[in-house]
Symmetry: C2
Subunit: 301 residues, 2 copies
């Protein structure tokens, strides 16, 4: 079944201990869509770029069967650019520069053909825009949402309204703590369930992830990685693998969700092996399934 | 099959956000033995106390069928006392005082009846004493060892010699990083395998544990705890549950080891629910098995 994603398209300049990439393809909608394309047949993207956005990137998205009718190209505009540096702690980047450019005026407009999409991912954008997207879709089957410190700190009212209208919130451990003011992650996750989502998925980096509903708890292992080339896009690749798999199965049962979390984990673990989306470019489903099985084996007892 | 443990017996004074305990039963050998007693029939303890060690504590150990022939009682001596405070970060205590007393001159002497014990746990004592214990046992089946920052920093030569002679090292994440000077935990664990142990188990607190050999990797979830009363003894309770279960099965296959890690996790999770060994005093095997099943369920997909 189809997935709608609304997020950013960017050109990233990244420095890590492993090297650097300049003006490389990035952005939450791009990472998400590419990861989801390993599983789902139809992915509909809403994002905005300038007319400096390389044609090869558009061709790449098309080669993945990603519907870019909703990818707005602003004539005379410049694409969103982000520069960041990761030092030894690969969990957090220091931002070197942010050029919002056309992304600063982003007003997601859904093409008519997108409005009945059953699976919706609201990537990490201003919660007011997330709400705006929700007004444009017709009774989606499942709405999944991401957020970040910036919105938690500066747009809490709109964010809380978004949360009332989503089914699943995916966020990382420090974001969960900041959002709830609870240092214990289980307590934080339970509190988030009172905000609206019926499920929360907390990502813990090298420690894996956990998923909570009112009645279920799932502890997901991380793939044991000895080195990370570039963490950029790991979270969106996780979300893409996750929702791509859910949409491919077509239900949101606990077992599907758990398998989906592990597929998200696997795609994210591949993504960080190289800069930008380079690893995903030559990745195939057989490699994904092999790592999925290895990870499954590493938790069996 | 029988287990030998060599470690400390102590009277602990602990402050945590949940309250305080004064001169409460503690020490690595005590926590280990009590936890192991839920599984193994025969536990042989070597430790030292003064004649101030309350008779009720001796009676408690006997009630658990723990062999205390090796519990030396020094006439006119005073029992090891430790005082510590845990603040919001329940992962590390600040030591308020350490009175080594009779423990300062501890020279483990194994009763003749202990020398053929097949399963050996060298609790967190000076590695020179750990080596001394290994000289007193006859070809044990499995030797498991713990250590801490103090010995890694101050007694590295003896510690490395101990490691050459043990089968399994259990330690926590920061100790593994300190011992190997590797920040990545997978790399750290792999390096430890080159020091002698054929298996390393790295404890990660609320993030569970992992076990590595040259050919296997196991990712163990933590029990999802919302509050911790007193973390003291969690590590030794983990080791006790772990080795108690291994000894009860009588083999060290990968599947037994994985199940044992989960039993260790469960006993440790109960232990931190109250001060000292209070929770273990009224704990029963059915409760342990129930939580073991819950934890198993939380990783299935």
């Amino acid at each position: 079944m189809s997935i709608l994603v609304v997020g950013s398209a960017a050109l990233d300049s990244v420095e890590t201990p492993a090297g650097r990439a300049e003006d490389a393809l990035g952005g939450s909608a791009i990472y998400f869509s590419t990861a989801a394309s390993f599983f789902a047949e139809s992915i509909r993207m809403v994002a905005v770029v300038g007319d400096d956005f390389p044609r090869e990137h558009v061709a790449f998205l098309e080669s993945r069967n990603i519907d870019i009718e909703g990818l707005e190209q602003v004539t005379g505009g410049r694409t969103f650019r982000w520069g960041g540096r990761y030092t030894d702690d690969l969990n957090s980047a220091s931002t070197l520069f942010t050029e919002l450019n056309v992304y600063g005026d982003f007003q997601p407009r859904l093409p008519q053909s997108y409005r009945d999409t059953p699976y919706v991912f609201l990537a990490n954008i201003n919660p007011e825009l997330q709400l705006n997207v929700l007004e444009q879709v017709n009774r989606p089957k499942l709405v999944v949402c991401d957020t970040m410190n910036l919105w938690i700190n500066n747009s809490r009212t709109a964010l809380m309204e978004t949360l009332e209208n989503v089914d699943i919130l995916i966020l990382n451990d420090t974001e969960a703590q900041l959002l709830t003011e609870e240092s214990n992650l289980i307590s934080a996750a339970k509190k988030i369930l009172t905000y609206g989502p019926s499920r929360v998925i907390v990502k813990k980096g090298e420690h894996g992830a956990m998923s909570l509903t009112e009645t279920t708890f799932f502890s997901a292992p991380a793939h044991p990685l000895e080195s990370v080339c570039d963490p950029t896009g790991a979270g969106d690749s996780f979300a893409g693998g996750f929702l791509g798999y859910v949409a491919s199965v077509g239900d949101s049962s606990e077992v599907t969700i758990r398998q989906a979390i592990m597929y998200g984990t696997v795609v994210a673990s591949f993504n960080v092996e190289d800069f930008s989306l380079n690893r995903q470019r030559d990745l195939n489903r057989a490699e994904i399934d092999r790592r999925y099985q290895e990870l499954r084996e590493s938790t069996r007892y």
